[in-house]
């Protein structure tokens, strides 16, 4: 497991370093230098509007990262507490939370994102929030299932007998047991978010295609197959970033080292 973490952190570290270097102005159009191959001035060449591809990639990276962080935080901060509460309490509270969760599970995350971003416009935060919110359902279910099983362990029942306050039981005894398996699920949901955001940008509802997003870059250059590099860089960006989270997720589906 440790090797996996190092590889994932390595890739992410390189990308963060690379894209935080100073880069040109992504919106600087230069029609005299259209579709140039990689050169000293433009490490990744220029696009059909003569813009510096490296700058576009850098801005696209930070926007995608914002989406992943926003979506993951939203899912975890909403899903886990609700899952803990639903798992630990009985009756009405449990029913309300589970019905709301079922609602978000019925409507596919991508469709919800399409709807919301079309109305409020596609920005990293809006996409992150809606992908996070509709992705929280799985976190609620997984956390609730884990809480239900941990709750019946003797050490939790012993804490109840020791008059330990419920909040402390949830945070100190149940949550650590939940965190492990959830951490691994987080990996696969994060890589899913990256692809979803790229897809939203690609379909381009409520977005102007000059904004530097990896998805919009792919959408704009989809017909220029003769300039494969323009398609390669965003694809590589998405691939590497998704790999970072996919590596974290893999043990989730295959029991390793347990």
């Amino acid at each position: 497991m440790r090797i996996r973490l190092m590889v994932a952190a390595g890739i992410l570290g390189v990308m963060i370093l690379a894209f935080s270097l100073p880069h040109g102005d992504p919106s600087a159009v230069d029609l005299t230098a259209v579709l140039q191959p990689p050169s000293q001035a433009h490490p990744l060449g220029t696009d059909d509007l003569g813009r510096d591809v490296w700058a576009l990639m850098a801005v696209g990276f930070w926007r995608t990262l914002t989406v992943v962080v926003t979506a993951s935080l939203t899912s975890v901060l909403i899903g886990v507490p609700l899952g803990l509460i639903a798992g630990y309490s009985r009756g009405a509270v449990n029913a309300i939370i589970m019905t709301a969760t079922d609602l978000t599970m019925i409507i596919p995350t991508f469709v919800a994102a399409l709807l919301v971003t079309a109305v409020v416009g596609l920005t990293p935060f809006s996409a992150g929030l809606v992908l996070g919110l509709f992705g929280a359902g799985t976190y609620v279910n997984q956390t609730r299932a884990l809480t239900l099983s941990i709750r019946s362990y003797d050490y939790v029942r012993a804490e109840v007998l020791l008059a330990t306050p419920t909040v402390q039981i949830l945070l100190r005894h149940v949550l650590p047991g939940v965190a492990g398996p959830l951490m691994r699920y987080f990996g696969s949901s994060a890589s899913g978010t990256i692809l979803a955001y790229a897809g939203l940008a690609f379909i381009g509802l409520g977005v102007d295609t000059t904004v530097p997003d990896w998805g919009t870059m792919l959408y704009r250059h989809r017909s220029q197959i003769d300039h494969p590099l323009l398609l390669l860089w965003p694809t590589l960006g998405i691939f590497l970033l998704a790999i970072v989270f996919h590596i974290l997720a893999d043990p989730a589906l295959r029991k390793e080292g347990q």
């Binding site: 019905t99 079922d102 609602l103 599970m105 019925i106 409507i107 596919p108 995350t109 991508f110 469709v111 399409l114 709807l115 079309a118 109305v119 799985t138 696969s188 890589s191 899913g192 692809l195 790229a198 897809g199 690609f202 379909i203 509802l205 998805g215 792919l218 989809r222 197959i225 398609l231 694809t235 998405i238 691939f239 998704a242 790999i243 996919h246 997720a249 893999d250 589906l253 295959r254 029991k255």
Partner: protein
């Protein structure tokens, strides 16, 4: 146990009712009401009187609760209203498009499930090769955006090799390529689930006891592992069912296949809310149906829940 299955049925009916209320409320809460959209698209002045007139014509007036019951009543009898933009009967439009989306989505997931069982089992029992293969498929399906693969497929087979005239297909041929891509994107996850359940079986007490009685482990897992592994596979498929209609949006968009999702995308961009509303209701009906049917299959699989 019939009682358990009926409890699930009632639960799903409740869910259906609650989601219809939510969908109705959401449609009403959107910034631009259908009437404004209709008037503005045609350049007509947006005056209270014209809104009043349209509301009466479309039967949208009156207290909110009455509107809701009128709407749900009509919905259940098949009258889903008319599209603001095109004016055609929504239920007719949906009826044409639903089979296409089902073929792509359901066909894709079903095909993936059929392939996932042997692939997942081989990955767990067979040689390293199968396992690496399954991991590679999962890796690609989680790291390469689907619209990219669609674009490459169209470019390679459509443009360069010219084998398939993608944008001039009709009938069954329309759905083959999108379905295969949907299958590919589901195969990774489903095969990993099968592998995980097969791995778990290895250490189950009843498996180790059978091996101690002389059964060979791999033969045992192939033969007796079917039910527990299928149980895990089908419960994951149920979770993917919501994705079937919605998740195929990109594939339908890139291949320009006139399915439900493509229709949804067009309706959203033209703010055709009555279509969006009906689309969401179809989703709810679809989830309602799959959970009941596949739920029944699950309880048949595991005798303990029967």
């Amino acid at each position: 146990m019939i009682m358990r299955w009926q409890k699930a049925l009632v639960r799903q009916l409740e869910l259906f009712f609650v989601s219809s209320v939510v969908i109705f409320a959401v449609a009403r809460a959107l910034p631009r009401t259908p009437m404004e959209v209709y008037l503005q698209d045609r350049g007509l002045p947006v005056t209270p009187e014209s809104i009043e007139a349209l509301e009466r014509q479309w039967g949208l007036g009156g207290p909110i609760v009455v509107q809701y019951f009128r709407w749900i009543g009509r919905f259940c009898t098949g009258d889903w209203g008319t599209s603001i933009v095109t004016g055609e009967q929504i239920s007719v439009a949906m009826a044409q498009r639903l089979p296409i989306s089902l073929a792509i989505g359901l066909g894709g997931v079903a095909l993936a499930a059929l392939l996932a069982y042997p692939l997942g089992m081989k990955a767990s029992l067979g040689s390293r090769g199968w396992d690496l293969g399954a991991r590679l498929i999962t890796l690609i399906s989680q790291a390469v955006p689907s619209f990219l693969i669609c674009t490459l497929v169209i470019d390679l087979f459509g443009v360069r090799l010219g084998w398939i005239p993608f944008f001039r297909l009709s009938g069954a041929a329309l759905v083959i390529a999108p379905m295969l891509i949907v299958a590919f994107y589901s195969l990774g996850q489903l095969s990993r689930v099968v592998t995980a359940h097969a791995e778990e079986l290895r250490t189950e007490p009843f498996v180790t006891a059978a091996v101690a009685r002389g059964f060979e482990l791999n033969d045992l897992l192939w033969r007796d592992g079917r039910r527990p592994v299928l149980y895990g596979l089908i419960s994951t498929v149920i979770a993917k069912m919501a994705w079937v209609i919605g998740g195929t949006a990109i594939v339908e968009y890139v291949f320009a296949v006139p399915g439900m999702s493509y229709y949804l995308i067009k309706s959203i961009s033209s703010r055709d809310y009555t279509v969006v509303q009906s689309y969401l209701m179809v989703l709810v009906l679809w989830m309602f149906g799959t959970r009941i049917i596949l739920g029944g299959v699950l309880s048949w699989l595991d005798p303990r829940t029967r």
